[in-house]
C-alpha cells in the first residue's frame, strides 16, 4: 500500500505519490458543500461520514477554507477550529486540506501580513495540505502564506488558476509554474485549479502534458468542477497525461456545480487501466450510504436551477459561486434576467476587464459588475469599490491586458489618469496591532479569548463576536442534526427530538403547545429531559412596517440623494460609516460603505453640506431606499433664515 497519512514529511509523500502505480483522490467535501449546498453541510453530517471517509484512503479530505470558515461561524454556528479538532479525532490518518485565497485568506480583501501569518500558523495545527491561489495568478500575493505553510512543515499546494480564451495558452501556464517553483522550491504539489470546470477534456490533457514535459517530477493535482457535467472527461484526460491526484466527492451528495462522484471517476479510469491506488471502493460506497438520508434536510440550500449548466463555458462563473449567485438573483427578483446576465453581459465584462480568472474575489467583481450593468441601465454606471480597486491595481497587475480607457474613465472619473498615478498599485497594508485587537475582543465578549478565537475575530470581527455570543447562549449546537438545526415549518406537537450533546450525554426534548398572549409574546412549552420548561418568544415585528420603510425606486433614491437625503442604493449590509453628525462633507465624499454579495460599495455624497443625522449603524441590513445619512445643505440654511 502507498497510503498517504497525516504527518508524513513532504519528501516522503512526494516520493510515494511519484512512484505509485496509479493516481490519488482528494475528497473535496468542502467544495461540494460550497458549490452545491451554499456551504451549509453541517459538521454533524461530516462526522457521520468520518468513519467511512477515513477508511476510504483518500490523499486528503478538503474540509475547510474557501468561504466555509466564514459560513461556519455565520450560518452553521460552529467554531472552524473545533470542527477540525473533532474531525481529527474521528479521522486520525487522513490529511485535511484547505483552500486559501492567498493574501485574501478565507475572506474577500487583502489582510495585513501579520494577520496572514498568525492565521496560517493557527490553522496549520490542524490542516495538512494548503491549496493556495490568487485570482490574478499574482505570485507575490501568495508569498506570505507559502512561507508560513512551509515553516509549519505542512504540504504546500500552490495553484495555477485556469481559464480559457486566446490568452490562456500552455506557454503562459508553464511559465507560471516556473515562477511558482522559483519561489517555493521543488517540494510542492502543484494544483491546476479549474474552478469553473472550463475547457474540453482535450484542453486539460494538453495542459497537463505541457507542464509534465517541462517538469516531469512535479506532482500535479487536478481540481475541477462538474458544472457542465463533463468533469469526469477532464479528470480522465488529466490522469492519462500524468496528473497524480484528482478531486471528487461522495455520490449521494453530488450535485451540479461541485465535484463529480469519486466512484464514477474510479470506474471510468479503471477502463483505461488506471487505478486509484489507495482508495477502497467499498468505503466510498459505505460513505454515501451512511449520509444519504441527510440530504433531504439540505434541500433548501440546493441550487435554484437544477441541472448541469454547460453554458459555464461562456459565463465562466466558478462552481463555488454558482449557488450564491443564483440565490442572489432569486432574492433580488432578477432570476428571469439570468440568461442575459450569464450569456451576454458576463462574458463581455469578462473580456473588457482583462479576461482574468473568475474566482474569488475576482468572480464577485465580474458578477456584481455584470448584474449592475444589466439592472442599472447604464453600463459601468454604478461602480463597486472593489471594481475601482481592481482598476487601481490593488489586487495585482492585469495578467494579459488592461481594460479600455473608457472603462477607467467611467470608474475612476474624468481625471482617471491622475487618480491611477496617485492611488494605483498594490498597497502595503500596515500590520495590525494584534494585542490591541485582543483587548478589544476581551472587552466585547467580557472574557479572555483564545488565540483561535482571536484569529476568527481578525478575519470577521462582528460575525465572530456574534458567534461567540451565540455559543454562550445556545451552547455547542453542532451536535444537532440538520433535521433539527435546519428544520423548517416547526415541529409537530408531541414530537420527540433526541440528540447527544458534546459531552456524549443523550437528551430528549418533547414539543409541547405554544400560546400567544395579547402582546404577541409566544410561550413555547417543551419537555426537556422530562422537565417542563417554558420559552418566551418576543412578539414579531408587525408585517408591513419594515416593508413600508423601503422599496422606493432607483430614480427616487437619486433624487433624494441630490437634496441630501441619502438612501441605501440596494439591499446590502452597512459595513462602514465614514462620517459623523456635524461633519462637513463635500460632493463625492464617502459617507457610508455598504456590502452586498461580499462586494463593498461606497455611498458618496451627491451634494456638499453638514451631516445632520446618521440613521444607520454598522452591521445593519438595509433594503433599497432605507435612510442612511441626511446632509443639510448651505442653501437650505439660507432659505430657512
Amino acid at each position: 500500500m502507498n497510503r498517504i497519512v497525516q504527518g508524513m514529511n513532504i519528501k516522503d509523500l512526494l516520493k510515494t505519490v511519484r512512484e505509485a502505480d496509479g493516481y490519488y483522490i482528494t475528497n473535496t467535501a468542502r467544495d461540494m458543500s460550497q458549490s452545491d449546498y451554499k456551504n451549509r453541510i453541517l459538521l454533524h453530517t461530516d462526522l457521520m461520514a468520518a468513519k467511512e471517509r477515513e477508511k476510504a484512503g483518500y490523499f486528503s479530505l478538503e474540509i475547510t477554507g474557501g468561504a466555509s470558515v466564514h459560513v461556519d461561524i455565520l450560518r452553521k454556528q460552529v467554531d472552524p477550529f473545533l470542527k477540525l479538532k473533532l474531525l481529527r479525532e474521528a479521522m486520525p490518518n487522513t490529511m485535511f486540506q484547505t483552500l486559501c485565497r492567498g493574501v485574501n485568506l478565507f475572506g474577500y480583501r487583502p489582510y495585513p501580513q501579520n494577520v496572514i501569518r498568525f492565521t496560517v500558523k493557527e490553522f496549520a495545527k490542524y490542516v495538512d495540505v494548503w491549496r493556495v491561489f490568487d485570482f490574478m495568478n499574482y505570485i507575490p500575493n501568495m508569498k506570505a502564506v507559502f512561507e508560513e505553510v512551509q515553516a509549519a512543515g505542512k504540504i504546500l499546494e500552490p495553484c495555477i488558476c485556469f481559464s480559457t480564451g486566446p490568452e490562456h495558452t500552455d506557454d503562459f501556464y508553464v511559465k507560471k509554474v516556473g515562477e511558482i517553483l522559483d519561489v517555493t522550491g521543488e517540494d510542492i504539489v502543484l494544483c491546476i485549479k479549474n474552478h469553473g470546470g472550463l475547457g474540453t477534456p482535450k484542453r486539460i490533457g494538453d495542459l497537463v502534458s505541457s507542464i509534465k514535459n517541462k517538469y516531469p517530477d512535479l506532482v500535479l493535482h487536478y481540481h475541477g468542477h462538474n458544472t457542465d457535467g463533463n468533469d469526469i472527461g477532464r479528470i480522465t484526460e488529466a490522469v492519462l497525461h500524468g496528473a497524480n491526484i484528482v478531486d471528487a466527492s461522495d455520490h449521494s451528495f453530488t450535485g451540479f456545480y461541485g465535484p463529480p462522484p469519486v466512484l464514477t471517476v474510479m470506474q471510468t479510469l479503471e477502463g483505461y487501466g488506471h487505478k486509484a491506488v489507495t482508495v477502497d471502493a467499498e468505503a466510498v460506497i459505505a460513505t454515501s450510504d451512511a449520509i444519504r438520508d441527510q440530504r433531504p434536510h439540505y434541500d433548501i440550500f440546493e441550487s435554484q436551477f437544477r441541472g448541469f449548466l454547460p453554458t459555464v463555458q461562456i459565463h465562466k462563473l466558478p462552481g463555488g459561486a454558482m449557488g450564491s449567485s443564483l440565490e442572489q438573483a432569486e432574492k433580488g427578483g432578477f432570476l428571469d434576467k439570468m440568461p442575459d446576465i450569464l450569456h451576454k453581459e458576463l462574458p463581455l465584462v469578462q473580456k473588457e476587464l482583462g479576461n482574468y480568472w473568475s474566482v474569488t474575489p475576482g468572480s464577485q467583481i465580474l458578477w456584481t459588475t455584470a448584474v449592475s450593468n444589466v439592472q442599472g441601465g447604464e453600463r459601468y454606471g454604478n461602480v463597486s469599490g472593489d471594481l475601482r480597486n481592481l482598476l487601481l491595481g490593488k489586487y495585482g497587475p492585469f495578467p494579459f491586458y488592461k481594460p479600455a480607457e473608457w472603462i477607467y474613465e467611467k470608474v475612476l472619473g474624468a481625471d482617471w489618469q491622475k487618480v491611477l498615478e496617485e492611488e494605483g498599485g498594490i498597497e502595503d497594508i500596515e500590520d495590525m496591532d494584534i494585542d490591541k485587537e485582543r483587548k478589544t475582543l476581551t472587552d466585547r465578549i467580557r472574557r479572555k479569548p483564545t488565540e483561535q478565537e482571536l484569529v476568527l475575530y481578525l478575519q470577521h470581527p462582528n460575525d465572530a463576536v456574534e458567534f461567540f455570543k451565540f455559543e454562550a447562549k445556545f451552547g455547542k449546537v453542532y451536535v444537532l442534526p440538520p433535521s433539527i438545526f435546519l428544520k423548517r415549518g416547526g415541529f409537530e406537537l408531541g414530537e420527540d427530538i433526541t440528540f447527544t450533546d458534546h459531552k456524549g450525554k443523550g437528551h430528549l426534548i418533547s414539543i409541547g403547545p405554544a400560546q400567544m398572549n395579547e402582546e404577541g409574546e409566544t410561550t413555547i412549552y417543551l419537555t426537556v429531559d422530562h422537565h417542563n420548561r417554558r420559552y418566551i418568544m418576543a412578539a414579531e415585528q408587525k408585517a408591513g412596517v419594515a416593508a413600508a420603510q423601503s422599496e422606493i425606486g432607483k430614480e427616487e433614491i437619486e433624487e433624494l440623494a441630490a437634496v441630501g437625503d441619502v438612501r441605501a442604493p440596494f439591499m446590502a449590509n452597512v459595513c462602514e460609516i465614514a462620517v459623523e453628525v456635524g461633519q462637513e462633507v463635500a460632493e463625492g465624499d464617502k459617507l457610508v460603505v455598504v456590502e452586498a454579495m461580499k462586494m463593498q460599495t461606497p455611498v458618496l455624497a451627491k451634494i456638499g453640506g453638514v451631516v445632520e443625522s446618521v440613521t444607520t449603524k454598522v452591521g445593519d441590513a438595509v433594503k433599497p431606499g432605507a435612510k442612511l445619512v441626511k446632509i443639510k445643505t448651505g442653501n437650505e440654511e439660507k432659505e430657512g433664515k
Binding site: G490, F491, L526, R533
Partner: protein, 481 residues
Amino acid sequence: MKKKILVANRGEIACRIIRAIQELGYTAVAIYETPDNAALHISVADEAVWIGDGPRCDYLNIDKIIKVAKNHNIDGIHPGYGFLAENPHFSQACADNGITFIGPTAEVISQLGDKVTARRIMAEAKIPMVPGTDNLPADETEAVKMALEFANRVKYPIMLKATAGGGGRGIRQVDNDAQMKEQLQIARAEAKAAFSNDNVYMEKVVVKPKHVEVQIIADQFGSTVHLGTRDCSIQRRNQKLVEIAPSLIKDQKLLDEICETAVRAAKAANYTNAGTVEFLIDKDMNYYFMEINTRIQVEHTVTEMVTGIDIVRTQIKLAFGKPLSFKQSDVRIRGHAIEMRINAEDPQNNFMPEGGKTVTTYRSPGGYGVRLDGFVYQGFTIPQVYDSLLVKMTVFGYSWNETVDRLRRCLTNYVITGPKTTIPFYLQLVNEPQFQSGDFDTSYLENHPELLEYKDDDSEVNKLAALIAEIHHKGFNPYAA
C-alpha cells in the same frame, strides 16, 4: 367565633404567617397590590383583598389597611417584617381601632426604634454597649467638636449612624478627623432624605465582629424567655445572606451570658411579643449590645428548627393575651440549622436583582431536615418592584457537619431557571473550608471574593432547547438562514 387575622405583608413571610394562622384554626386574610396579583400569598390565604396599584405604597398605607381590616371584621394584624412592621403608628392605629397588633406596643417600638433612646435604656440596665454618643448637637460646629472629642477617646474607626436608620441603612464609616468633618454633613443629609429625620449619633467600630443575636419572646404577664442564639455574620454590605442557629462560639458560658443579657435588655424595655436582641462580638470575645429588632425576623426559622418552637404561632397566641406556655428551662437547643436566602439576583453582576423574569423551572429539594419558606412557583413572574427574596431554605442537622452536608445536597438539587439566583454562589460557599469549619465573622465575604467565580450553571441541554424553541417558533433557524 373563628378569629380573623390580616397579614399586612407579602412574599414568603406572608405565606409563613398565613400557615400559622390556619394551623390555629383562624381565618387568614391577605392583602395585595396589583403587581402581586399572581403572588402565592393570595392563593394560600382564605381571603385576599386588593388594596391598590402600589407599588410599595399601599402596603405602607396605614389608613387603607386599617379600613380594610375594619370592613372585614379583622381581629388581629400581623405585620411580618419590613413595610409597617416597625412603624409605631401602625401598632398604635391597630390599638386605637380595637384590632390586636401582633407585635410589641407602639411605645416599645417607638423607644427601641430610636437608637439613641434604646441606648439610653440599655445603659441604665447596664447592658454592655459599644462606646457611643447621644444624638449629635444640631449646631454644626458643636457637633464636629463633640465628634472629634469622642474619636480621640475611643479611637477610629467610628460609625456615623442615622438615629432613625436600621436594616443596615444609614451607616457610614469614618477613619480620621478630616473624614469626620466632611462625612458628618453628608450623613445628616442622607438621614434626612431616607428617614425624614436628620439626627445622627456615633459608635466605635468593632473591627471584624461576629454578629450574634438572641431571639426573645415575652408575654404580657412579665414572663420573658430567650430561644438561644443565631449567628448572622455572613453579610454582604450589612445585608444578611446566611444565618445559623445556634452560634458556633465554643464558649457556652459566654453564650449563656449573652442570652441572659438579652432577656435583661428585653425586660428593661418592657418588651412584649417576639423580638431580637443583636450583639457584636469582637475577637477578644467582648460582646456589645447593638439593637433590638421589634419584629419577627427573616431568620427566625433557624431558631424554630433548633428549639422546636413555632415562633409565629406563639406570637399570635401572646398577642391575644395568652401567657407563655413554656418556661426558660423548657427551652432546649438541639442540633444545628442553617438558613440561606435564595434571592433572584445575579451574584456575578454585583447581586443585581433579576426581577421581571419568569421562573421557567422550579424544582425544590426535600427530605429529612429540609424546610422551605418561599412563594415562587413554576411560571411565576417575579414582580420587579419588590425585594428579590424568593425562598428561604433552612436545613437542620444533628451536627454542624451533617447540616453542611445536607445544605450542599439541597443546593445541588435545587433547580430554579428563568431568573439568576444566589444558589450557585451558595454552592461555592458550602464548599469553602472556612465556612465548613464554622469560624467566620462579618468580614467573611469580603475575604472570599473567589466565591463569585463560578460558571453559569445553565446546562447545555437547556441552551440547546432554547434554540430548538426558537427554530420551532419561527418555522426556520434564524441563525442558519
